[in-house]
Symmetry: C2
Subunit: 276 residues, 2 copies
Amino acid sequence: MESYKHFLAVLSAAAAFGIVSIIFVLRWVLHYREGLAWDGGLGEFNWHPVLQISGFIFLNGAAIIVFRLPWTWRCSKLIMKFIHAGLNLAAFICATISFVAVFDFHNAAQIPNMYSLHSWLGLAALVLFCLQIVLSVIIYLMPFSPASWRAAFMPLHVFFGRSLFGSVIAVALMGITEKLIFGLSNPKYKDSPPEAVFVNVMGVLLVAYGVAILWISTRTSWKRPNDLALHTQHTSGGGEDNIKVGSSLSQLSDEAEAEGHVDVRRRGHKLDDQAD
Amino acid sequence: MESYKHFLAVLSAAAAFGIVSIIFVLRWVLHYREGLAWDGGLGEFNWHPVLQISGFIFLNGAAIIVFRLPWTWRCSKLIMKFIHAGLNLAAFICATISFVAVFDFHNAAQIPNMYSLHSWLGLAALVLFCLQIVLSVIIYLMPFSPASWRAAFMPLHVFFGRSLFGSVIAVALMGITEKLIFGLSNPKYKDSPPEAVFVNVMGVLLVAYGVAILWISTRTSWKRPNDLALHTQHTSGGGEDNIKVGSSLSQLSDEAEAEGHVDVRRRGHKLDDQAD
């Protein structure tokens, strides 16, 4: 019960940080900047931060924690996988459109593309995110994928999912820095006009959103309990050989399969493990 | 054995990324920039990236994984705690000197301090890193700290340790972006002169270092085995009550204490757990 209150508190904080970040980026482009358009001008460029924050960051963060929402635990794992994949696909589409917006703007304004560290890391993140989606769909949603592949890939899927999420926030912070330096001329960024302070606060909110999402996603005790219950059921009756992935375990969730190689978890403890 | 080879491969990659990053930042300031000095000028500013990368990032990364080096497993846990704390303290001192360098430079050049998102997040990271060190020394190195505190704080210590490490790399990437925009005038950053490409590559190396360190630090199977062996010894003989932290467990390592609340781990499996 206490753990549930803690979960709700962190989830509410994450939702608040994420939603307020989206409100901030909309106010930034609509109030302080040139608004939104699709004409190769600054209004088109402005889709870049809007879609990155509301799409690539917010939706990806939601996808990362969607399995942990207690009110989804009665849904089948397959439905939850589709929701997880759907949110990530939506995040990828937003990110791709936002890249098109910035390339269009650069081409129209005769600004070179892909010269900055922000652009290098941003494109790398997009390509790796695409690779993660393709591999994950093949491995976790295609019926022909062997359970051993699903188990072997899960640590990579989880680690690189979280790493990409953190990296995209870092890339966004670099982009915010670039835009405030290039976009503010009189007064300049260093003179701290209201827009600069406002957008700095947005950057802090993005970091807070990232930390809250990563905290939720790394607490073992907040996992879907049915995976773990199934898992315990299959592992409590024998030695390590029983834990190995085989045809008899194919109905287990992928996450539980991955855990099956490593440890036997017990439910009902009050504290989280140190690092999930 | 295979896991050990995997560990050595990732460790070697992390060391290579980290050391090459330090070589890159030294070449950047010594070859492309104004060198190093302590005179309030650009030479003093240049200590900022050098000390951030070689100190705050490289040493902190080393501190994070020092418990995982197999050749240290014969050392006592207390000695390893002192090495971990010492590396982090050295990282903090480097970071503090690098902050003094940039404030000195700004003051001499009449550039405002603390206006950018880079400076906000950088100062926040330094303050939180200091808080983490102070709390950790009190909780893990002072003999009067109760074992229950050590266990309760460990998930926070580990999570915020990794989060701060990732955040400092993100802040460095923002700083690199600022410096390349402000420092390159003819040709500009957007014209991709050799310095810009060189420093962009350094940014990619920093990200690679961060990913390698976080991969090493999140693989449960690469933990110090003696903590886990002790832990198994204390937990295998009874129910959950036996796992609770009490005076009889005070000789256990702090990490094992923290884990004791949550799960019973088994050694010798080939795969890592999904997220440590």
